[in-house]
Each structure stands twice: as structure tokens, then as C-alpha cells.
């Protein structure tokens, strides 16, 4: 019984340790009006992609997402 209680307390403490204050996402990343650096990286077909290569007449939409794997 005592062992179970200790395990529960440890798990709870670990949870608290990794919790962080919420991030204000408005402060992250390049702001409107900023000029960004380009990159060259492979896409799903192994083709090189960059902001300039992907651009249409109005520019490029770049979506950062968490993962395609899970």
C-alpha cells in the first residue's frame, strides 16, 4: 500500500515539473512585414523546395505542422 502511494506521488511530481507557463504564440516567429530567409529542403517526392520555388503569383503559404507520423 505504501509503495503504491509513493509511486503515485512521484508521477504527479513529474507531471508538475514538465508543466510550463503557456506560451504567447504571438511573440514567436517572424512578424508581419519582416523579411525571412529562404531554405532548400526535400519534399515528399525528394524534390528540392524553397519559398521561391513554391511561390505563385501572390507568393507562398507555409504551414508548420506537428507531424505526419502520429
Amino acid at each position: 500500500m505504501r509503495a503504491h502511494v509513493i509511486a503515485l506521488v512521484s508521477v504527479a511530481a513529474a507531471g508538475l515539473a514538465s508543466a510550463q507557463a503557456p506560451v504567447d504564440v504571438a511573440t514567436l516567429g517572424p512578424k508581419v512585414g519582416a523579411t525571412v530567409s529562404d531554405f532548400t529542403l526535400a519534399d515528399q517526392r525528394g524534390q528540392p523546395q524553397s519559398l521561391r520555388l513554391a511561390a505563385g503569383s501572390k507568393g507562398t503559404m507555409l504551414v508548420f505542422f506537428r507531424s505526419a507520423d502520429w
Binding site: G33, S37, G59, M61, F64
Partner: protein
């Protein structure tokens, strides 16, 4: 862009019929260079960005950016483009008419997933010789849009274009009006409830209702304020994780 390998992205693209480029950023180098790493992420999540979208012009200047509070909330591309002033013809337009104006209703995306944010469009057209009053104009009933509240979505404030001015001689007053066709937009973000996700799997229709209230005058008389019912139909589609 994500930290996944090209192979993982290829499998994802095949599964969901995606043909546009999915860019591989192994080791999250661009994610870091742009300052977007989620510092709290651990384990397999380490290296993920705070999810968000940038619209970048051909000279690499950022035109618009949108970061949602939760990873499941997603602006649609059309909704973001409409917000930065691109004239996007609305999907599935319908027309409504009032005594002194007509309006064409549309939406930037006819198909939206739970968590998706899309833009409702009201293209207002005063009838000949008529003007309606812009928000903030005192002494008259200004144009307003009210959406009927629903647990299925949350609503952003409607966006109104800059008005023109009208000088009414008999009262010696200058008022802020719309006297030619204007576009009013209002964004809605669909809920992520289990109930809505079930309806999305069944590709059900989501109906959004509301009303437009306005007062119109011509160069001689003012008409009674009117409220016109509005409605939009969206098709739900499953949320892709």
C-alpha cells in the same frame, strides 16, 4: 513543413490525397531558425513547432501569419487569403434581398473540418440611390451582422470595410455610409467536440444562421430599419490529425 522524413511525408500524402509539397525539416533546423520550436515538447514530440501558417510574398516578406491557440484549430488557406484582402469568389453563393439592398452570401470554404476556421462572406449591394450606415455612425441604425449562437462553432467579430461619406444638405450633416457594393466578412471556428467529429465522419451539413440589420436612406427619405435573415451551409469533413 514538419520534422518528418520525406518517406513519412510521402506516406501521409498518399493516405490523404495531398498533392502540394510537404517539406521535410529533419532536426527541425528551419523550425529553430524561425523561432517556432515548442520548448515543452518531449520524447517523440521533441522538435515540433507551435503550429501556424505564414503567407509570404515573392520578395520573402511576411504578409500575414496565423497561430492558433490549439494545434487542432486551423485557418483554411482561402480564409487567410480573404482576410488579407484577396478578392476570393465565395463557394456556394446565395442571394438574399431586403427592401433597400441585396446581399450575396458565400463562404471561403464549402467543406470544413472540426477545428477549422473559415470566413463567412456578405457582399452587400445597396439598391440604386440608397446608402446604409456604417458601424459607429450615430443617429442611425448602422449595419450589423448577428450570428445565432451555436455549440458547433465560435465566432470572431465581423470585419467591415472602410465607409464612404455622404453629405445630407437639409440637415447639414456628413455621415459614414456604404453606398456601393462592399464585402463584410466574419470568421467562424468550428468546435472540436466528439459530437461534431462524428457528424464530420458522416459528412453532414452544418447550417449557420444569422441576420443582417441595417437602415437605408436615399437623398430624400429614410426607410424603416430592416432585419434580413442570413444562412450558410457548410459540409463537414473529418478532422485530419
Amino acid at each position: 513543413m514538419s520534422y518528418d522524413s520525406p518517406e513519412t511525408l510521402a506516406a501521409f500524402a498518399d493516405r490523404h490525397g495531398i498533392t502540394y509539397p510537404l517539406v521535410s525539416d529533419p532536426g527541425s533546423k528551419v523550425i529553430d531558425a524561425w523561432g517556432l520550436r515548442n520548448q515543452a515538447a518531449r520524447g517523440r514530440e521533441e522538435g515540433i513547432p507551435h503550429p501556424g501558417t505564414f503567407l509570404i510574398d515573392r520578395s520573402l516578406k511576411v504578409l500575414e501569419r496565423a497561430f492558433e491557440q490549439a494545434y487542432q484549430e486551423r485557418n483554411t488557406a482561402a480564409s487567410l487569403l480573404a482576410r488579407i484582402g484577396g478578392a476570393v469568389p465565395p463557394d456556394s453563393p446565395t442571394d438574399v434581398a431586403g427592401g433597400q439592398l441585396t446581399a450575396t452570401l458565400g463562404v471561403t470554404d464549402a467543406v470544413v473540418p472540426p477545428g477549422g476556421r473559415t470566413t463567412l462572406i456578405v457582399d452587400l449591394k445597396p439598391k440604386p440611390n440608397m446608402h446604409v450606415y456604417a458601424p459607429g455612425q450615430e443617429g442611425y441604425i448602422p449595419v450589423s451582422i448577428a450570428l445565432d449562437p451555436s455549440a458547433d462553432f465560435k465566432v470572431q467579430p465581423a470585419k467591415f470595410p472602410a465607409p464612404g461619406t455622404y453629405y445630407f444638405g437639409p440637415l447639414k450633416e456628413t455621415v459614414q455610409v456604404y453606398d456601393k457594393p462592399v464585402r463584410i466578412t466574419q470568421d467562424v471556428t468550428l468546435a472540436l467536440s466528439p459530437e461534431l467529429r462524428k457528424r464530420a465522419t458522416a459528412k453532414e451539413t452544418l447550417v449557420i444562421t444569422g441576420s443582417l440589420t441595417y437602415q437605408a436612406c436615399d437623398d430624400k427619405v429614410c426607410y424603416r430599419p430592416e432585419t434580413v435573415p442570413l444562412g450558410w451551409s457548410l459540409t463537414l469533413t473529418p478532422f485530419i490529425r
